[in-house]
């Protein structure tokens, strides 16, 4: 048997093959299929057009209300209604209703719906997030999702893998987001097109699951199919916490073949900010300090977890949000929101002048609950800053981690936390 990368191992195992090589086209069984309110309705229509009646196996389906909820308008309400009815008809247990839901990429891992070695598809581009726990997970479209519902499998082209070695101890105020923004700036937005990023190195090994989620989440921003991190003891401990007791260690074979190797030493990395309109436009925060901000958003599937809010809270507690700036805090799930309340952070955020929104994609996709007006500028901890992504086409969004976002909300302009404290 030839030596394989993590992605190759997972695809071989799910297609019943001894080994696979990049470029092979195959059908592989999937362990989970994720849909959301924004993508499921079209899939339901296509599923019916396919002449399908029952899904292959209802336990494969995960359906999450997150993008336009609580319903932003009548059409959005209809999208959720379609998905709700379908989940009911098909007997899908993993259906997440408003109030018990959250952003899908936090729901799936936290509800124990993915484990190392799994093959997952989702009709959402940031499905690559689950690489954080050693799964091969990738975004697909609505027709793909309908096909996977009907067949329990889907076509894949075996991707080649870029090995990314990240080494060095991070400085204060520098975190996973700064690392991944820096890596993407090296690769470019299409640097990993049709490929998988496999992350290694002591910096990654030292990260908790929240931080690894930030890393894997943004793999697609370099065009990658997925961003995988080998599963280790940290992964297994997390898996037990979420009720998965049969999770396994998984790594690439030592002599696996890589498309290329990218080595990044992050010991001297400064806090990073990606300028509009590409996530690959990362620069040291010092290059953009002073940029006035109308809105700061801390949340999303990239940085909406307890560790992210802890970073923000440490900097914000006892301070006030600048009078000309609005600060939105978006806990990714109900459980994360409860944690913010239990720790007293929720109150401190509100006291500082922030608004805490329900767990929604809302502002991240320019949908609702904080859309930008003409010419407005924001600093978001989200993952994309394309033209019109977050509101009016002339609005601008800078991307950063929670530390830069928190201090910038206080000053009303982009600020380097190293200088402020």
């Amino acid at each position: 048997m030839s030596a394989m990368t993590i992605a190759e191992k997972i695809l071989a195992q799910h297609s019943g093959k001894e080994s696979v090589s990049p470029g092979d086209l195959l059908f592989a069984k999937v362990d989970r299929i994720l849909g959301t309110d924004v993508t499921a309705s079209l899939s339901i229509q296509v599923f019916k057009d396919m002449g399908a009646e029952k899904v292959f196996d209802p336990s494969l389906l995960v359906l999450v209300n997150d993008h336009f909820v609580p319903a932003k308008d009548i059409q959005a309400a209809q999208l959720s209604k379609n998905m709700r009815q379908f989940a009911h008809e098909q007997g899908v247990d993993a259906y997440f209703e408003v109030g018990r839901s959250g952003i899908c990429h936090s729901i799936v891992p936290d509800q124990g719906l993915v484990k190392p070695g799994d093959l997952l598809v989702g009709a959402d581009s940031h499905t690559c997030t689950y690489g954080a726990v050693g799964a091969l997970a990738t975004g697909v479209g609505s027709t793909d999702m309908a096909a996977a519902w009907a067949l329990g499998e889907l076509w894949f082209r075996v991707p080649s893998t870029i090995r990314v070695e990240v080494t060095g101890k991070l400085k204060p105020f520098v975190g996973a987001k700064d690392v991944i923004l820096h890596v993407i700036s090296k690769l470019g937005v299409d640097g990993a097109l049709y490929k998988v990023l496999e992350f290694h190195g002591d910096t990654i090994e030292a990260m908790n699951i929240d931080e690894r989620i930030t890393i894997s989440n943004m793999a697609v921003e370099a065009g990658a199919k997925s961003g995988i991190i080998p599963s280790d003891e940290i992964t297994l401990t997390y898996m037990k916490e979420v009720g998965v007791h049969d999770a396994q260690l998984l790594d690439a074979d030592p002599d696996a073949h890589y498309d290329s190797v990218l080595r990044v030493d992050v010991s001297d990395l400064k806090p990073q900010v990606a300028k509009p309109y590409l996530p690959s436009n990362a620069v040291d925060v010092d290059e953009v300090v002073g940029q006035q901000l109308e809105q700061v958003v801390i949340g999303s599937c990239t940085n909406g977890r307890v560790s992210d809010f802890e970073v923000a809270w440490r900097l914000l507690q006892g301070k006030k949000v600048h009078p000309s700036t609005r600060l939105l805090i978006i806990p990714s799930t109900r459980e994360i929101f409860q944690q913010l309340m239990a720790n007293g952070w929720a109150n401190d955020f509100v006291e500082a002048g922030a608004v805490i929104t329900p767990s929604t994609c809302g502002p991240c996709i320019g949908g609702h609950m904080g859309v930008l007006a003409e010419e407005e500028t924001g600093l978001y901890t989200t993952n994309r800053n394309f033209v019109g992504r977050n509101g009016h086409p002339t609005s601008k969004v800078f991307l950063s981690g929670p530390a830069v976002a928190a201090v910038s909300a206080i000053r009303g302009k982009i600020t380097n936390p190293e200088v402020m404290f």
């Binding site: 086209l25 079209l42 057009d49 396919m50 002449g51 027709t143 096909a147 996709i365 994309r384 394309f386």
Partner: protein, 164 residues
């Protein structure tokens, strides 16, 4: 097929192909009037059935929204030629039957307003305005099969109801 070129740059993302504000809709007739709205306000008025989008690298990057190729196809675009495609857009286009071709040379050799003649089966592209002739990267065999059936929905239908 033959059509007029609409020429765009690199990294045309799904947020400009069809902004999220329209993504509570998912049918071609509702999406098509907003195709490329945030990139080129006049596109929808100018485009005619059978026209061709020619763009740089990483066309269709960003979200997984299938609404993007549906909007383009619904607006009348018969084919997209790019230096490269973002992978979900590539899948979605194949799955919904929007012809796409990867051909950096044809992209370099074509300008806004040029007339192109395309043979989707062979991947041959001819520029009738500036005289140029290229061949796009061929699709792998398994994908050809899906395309020849008319998209993934037809493929699944055939698998679910095999002809006895």
């Amino acid at each position: 097929m033959e059509g007029t070129v609409f020429r765009y740059g690199d990294n045309i993302d799904t947020d400009v192909i069809i902004p999220a504000r329209y993504c509570t809709e998912y049918t071609a007739d509702k999406l098509a009037p907003h195709a490329l709205e945030d990139l080129d306000r006049t596109f929808v008025q100018r485009v005619k059935d059978g026209d061709i989008i020619v763009a740089g690298k990483n066309f269709g990057c960003g979200s997984s929204r299938e609404n993007a190729p549906i909007a383009i196809k619904g607006a009348g675009v018969a084919c997209v030629i790019a230096e490269s495609f973002a992978r979900i857009f590539y899948r979605n286009s194949i799955n919904i039957g929007l012809p796409i071709l990867e051909c950096p040379e044809a992209v370099q050799g074509s300008m806004e307003g040029d007339r192109l003649h395309i043979d989707i089966k062979t991947g041959e592209i001819e520029n009738l305005t500036q005289s140029g002739h290229w061949k796009a990267v061929a699709f792998p065999e398994g994908i050809q099969e899906i395309i020849s059936l008319g998209g993934l929905a037809a493929y699944v239908r055939a698998r679910l109801n095999p002809v006895k």
